[in-house]
């Protein structure tokens, strides 16, 4: 891990402060996506399994925090290591379950890993494209379930589209009052949030690297390349794939948990298929299997989404105003971002399937077909 980059990341809030810029929020959002992309990278990049429903784990992680660190289950009142005072704003005893965010991170990781296994176990024996469809199915069902979940046989499990609101901040209650920002994780000073997600991202990167170079990492590549040969070498292909699925899910869940606490509200409608595809685009753009490539992919695509497209929109409007063309001055370029991503996916696959920063192995694999094309191509064509 390049030390320089870590150092820069560590002092970023200082730079931000010095510039008087307003970077922290977008940086945190980008970091969440970096985590998601790295999680998906384990599944798609390392193990070669196409997961089109990755957003499901993101959603599950967020709901874990939503359920266990808010007033949602207001029929009970239970707090455990929570950063909140036992009495709420109104002075009454806080209804709902309030468990420390740090503990919930672990819970979210375990919960999503469990779901990864539940989803993966029966489906991982399916061939790759079928697996993609099954994951897509789950990715559609889970958010839909959260939408409908306000009435499961009369019980309000998820609060439907109104979502879960007022999620507790993480907080470090044992700190002295003088370190109030860290004690409370307020909404105004984002430094504690930033360092939290930074640590999470670094852990994710570290785990990615270690896994890639481990016995399991080799098994993933083996299964990806030739499942039968891998099995004949003694690799348990199902568990190997299951691990990829579960570990990918863990990082999706952790990202979701952080997101839930950070935004303090969860809406089931935010976990759409588009998010799955966006994260997939990040992995593919950056280079499947390449950790740094995937990070770059996440930063690039979020940059395009948040800054480039609105900027381009501004330019187009300016041009439209100058030319007095209502078509251009009323254009809504950012609306078509998935058009861009669609083209990106096709172009990447056709021209540079290994991504911007390729993984050495993946490049070889993805260009495999080209060399022996003549062998398979019917001769008279």
């Amino acid at each position: 891990m390049p030390v320089g980059l870590i150092l820069l990341a560590l002092v970023l809030p200082l730079i931000n402060g010095a510039l008087g810029a307003d970077l922290m929020f977008p940086v945190i959002v980008v970091a969440i996506y970096v985590m998601l992309a790295l999680g998906l990278n384990i599944v798609v990049g390392f193990a070669g399994l196409l997961d089109l429903g990755f957003v499901a784990f993101y959603a599950l992680g967020a709901y874990v925090v939503g359920w266990f660190a808010s007033t949602h289950f207001n029929e009970v009142s239970f707090a455990f290591l929570s950063a909140l005072p036992a009495q709420g704003v109104s002075g009454r005893e806080l209804p709902g379950i309030h468990i420390s965010f740090w503990l919930l991170l672990l819970v979210a990781g375990a919960f999503t890993a469990l779901w990864g296994i539940i989803i993966g176990a029966p489906t991982l024996r399916l061939r790759g494209d079928y697996l993609a469809i099954v994951t897509l199915g789950f990715g559609e069902i889970i958010p839909r379930f959260f939408v409908n979940g306000d009435n499961i046989f009369g019980y309000n499990l998820t609060n439907g589209t109104i979502g879960i609101k007022g999620i507790d901040p993480p907080g470090l209650p044992f700190l002295p009052n003088s370190l109030n920002t860290w004690r409370q994780f307020g909404t105004l000073d984002l430094d504690p949030w930033y360092y939290t997600i930074l640590i999470l991202v670094l852990v994710t990167i570290f785990v990615n690297i270690r896994l890639r170079d481990s016995r399991l990492g080799r098994a993933w590549v083996a299964v990806r390349e030739d499942e039968a040969a891998a099995a004949a070498m003694g690799v348990n292909t199902t568990t190997t794939k299951l691990w990829a699925y579960a570990l990918g899910a863990v990082f999706g869940g952790l990202a979701g948990a952080f997101y839930g606490a950070f935004i303090k509200s969860i809406f089931p409608t935010s976990f759409s298929f588009n998010i799955s595809v966006l994260v997939l685009c990040m992995v593919i753009l950056g280079g499947m299997g390449n950790i740094y490539g995937v990070i770059l992919g996440a930063i690039l695509l979020q940059g395009i989404n948040f800054y480039l497209l609105p900027e381009v929109n501004g330019w187009v409007h300016a041009i439209g105003d100058a030319l007095e063309s209502p078509l251009l001055s009323n254009a809504d370029i950012p609306k078509y971002n998935y058009f861009l991503f669609g083209i990106l996916l096709v172009m990447m696959m056709l021209l540079r399937p290994e991504g911007v920063i390729p993984n050495r192995q993946r490049r070889e694999e993805l260009h495999e077909g080209e060399e022996d094309e003549s062998v398979v191509e019917p001769t008279h064509v």
């Binding site: 399991l216 099995a231 690799v235 192995q361």
Partner: protein, 265 residues
């Protein structure tokens, strides 16, 4: 005949009892009995389409027989999945080389060691001393294996190796799983005479240096005749002959079967 031999060689490592495989009405392998003695080199020969590779895939677990059972080290392994058989000590190579093309030669061998390594996920992530030591030892062992099969380039992608090296790498990869029984599917296919000779020598050393039993499918009759302890001949899924190489060579049924097709080798 086979009954007689069983008495001669009491130490049976692998046994097939009336193995039958039917593909949608087509009988590919028909009630074949078969066994491999401890430390022996047994060859399976027969003309094209005789069902050798099908039989082979059943032994390694990629296919499951329609009827009959397999015993390995005295245990019924008929219903075991491939990786479980590999764990028990059945290693194999493939007729059409199936290396992990975009892994380095060394990594291919390390993958072969998969079942013999213990490094768990948590250990790998934390980099515990145990896992590190194991990795280091594994690398050394893998390097030794590469040296044993006579491969110099460790870091080259498997797919970029010359053909003969790929064959040898496949054997090294199979050896890495520390098999007690090694299945070699036409290991000399596509090799020139010198390479073939070297490989034959290598197979001989497997038995001597590692005490590994070998089941060999081979078209090259010179190889079969020179190193086999025992030869079984399949034709149209049926066992038509078996015996010592010299015996089989003169069996009229075998000659007929091979005359019916083009005699290879």
């Amino acid at each position: 005949m086979s009954e007689a031999r069983k008495e001669e060689v009491p130490n049976i490592i692998f046994e097939a009892r009336s193995i039958t495989k039917v593909f949608g009405g087509l009988v590919a392998v028909n009630a074949v009995d078969f066994y491999i003695p401890q430390g022996g080199i047994v060859s399976l020969i027969g003309p094209n389409g005789a069902g050798k590779t099908t039989f082979f895939n059943m032994v390694s677990g990629l296919l499951r027989p329609t009827a009959g059972s397999f015993f390995f080290l005295g245990q019924d392994v008929t219903r075991l999945v491939p990786h479980r058989r590999a764990q028990m000590g059945i290693g194999r190579t493939f007729q059409n080389i199936r290396l992990f093309g975009t892994m380095s030669a060394l990594d291919n061998v390390l993958t072969g060691m998969h079942v013999r390594l213990r490094g768990g996920i948590v250990g790998s992530i934390l980099g515990t001393p145990g896992v590190r030591r194991e990795e280091k030892e594994a690398r050394e062992r893998a390097a030794d294996l590469l040296k044993f099969v006579g491969l110099r380039s460790r870091e080259t992608f498997a797919k970029n190796l010359p053909y003969g090296d790929q064959r040898r790498l496949e054997i090294a990869r199979a050896l890495a799983s520390e098999p007690k029984l090694l299945l070699l599917d036409e290991p000399t296919a596509g090799m020139n005479p010198q390479e073939t000779a070297r490989l034959t020598q290598l197979i001989g050393r497997l038995k001597e240096e590692y005490g590994i039993s070998v089941l060999l499918i081979e078209h090259e009759m010179r190889v079969v005749m020179s190193i086999s302890d025992w030869v079984t001949v399949l034709d149209h899924g049926e066992k038509i002959s078996e015996g010592a190489p010299a015996q089989v060579r003169v069996d009229p049924k075998v000659i007929e079967a091979y005359l019916g097709t083009a005699m290879t080798g």
